[in-house]
């Protein structure tokens, strides 16, 4: 599974992209977030407030309940500010 980070989530984690094996017990986006928070203090800090974390699975906006699977591209980013 490829995970992408953007904007201040990217800066806080210090990574723009990583590839991980789908962890055991993770089948939904929210579970993936919980698992990532446990990877280290920079992850916990960047992903602490779920209300400002947007999730996209395979380039589509997704909720915490959305299914995730090995091979998916999951992106985590703050609310968008283009335009």
């Amino acid at each position: 599974m490829k995970i992408l980070y953007f904007a201040w989530i990217r800066s806080r984690i210090g990574l723009s992209e990583e590839t991980v094996d789908l962890p055991d017990g993770v089948s939904k986006a929210g579970e993936l977030l919980d698992w990532l928070r446990g990877r280290g203090p920079e992850y916990a800090d960047a992903l602490r407030d779920a209300s400002v974390v947007r999730i996209a699975v395979n380039e589509e906006y997704a909720s915490l309940d959305a299914p995730v699977a090995a091979g998916d591209e999951v992106a985590l980013f703050p609310p968008v500010t283009g335009g």
Binding site: A7, E59, A75, F77, G83
Partner: protein
């Protein structure tokens, strides 16, 4: 049509390409978003726009398709820049062409509202206190939401 690019764009050339030789077009509306030299009371020295390549194209294409399905448009265009920008620089261009003005105005406003709420771009500004990520504005979400009710009837 949608384009995501680092380079500036030529507004007159883009208008000409949207209208083309279609003589049924009576109304063209254009929105140009510019980098301001002040935001939230702080002076802005420059700005960097980050985006999510792939998802950005997908979202903008979907937003444009939604506008084409809601209004009788001859053509439309969204160009969004990314990368390093300075105050006065153009960020985004939206054009809608239609037989009559109501559709052209509503479509351009819709395109801007939805791209601001949905297209994965993030702005980082440099102020005298250092660089900061721009926070999303609540009223941008509200502006996007007002298009979910019943549409105003289109008079042609």
């Amino acid at each position: 049509m949608i384009r995501i690019q680092k380079e500036d764009f030529d507004v007159a050339a883009e208008i000409a390409s949207v209208v083309g030789t279609d003589r049924s077009v009576g109304a063209v509306t254009v929105f140009i978003g510019l980098v301001r030299d002040i935001n939230g009371g702080e002076s802005i020295a420059d700005m960097t726009l980050e985006h999510y390549p792939g998802m950005t194209e997908k979202m903008l294409a979907r937003i444009e398709a939604e506008a084409m399905s809601r209004w009788p448009l001859s053509a439309s265009l969204i160009i969004h820049r990314y990368g390093h920008l300075q105050p006065g620089d153009r960020i985004v261009l939206v054009i809608s062409a239609s037989a009559h003005r109501q559709a052209a105005f509503e479509a351009s406003e819709f395109l801007v509202d939805w791209l601001k709420a949905k297209a994965p771009f993030w702005k980082r500004e440099t102020t005298p206190e250092g660089a900061r990520w721009v926070a999303a504005r609540d009223n941008d979400a509200a502006a996007a939401d007002r298009w979910t009710g019943e549409p105003r009837p289109i008079v042609v």
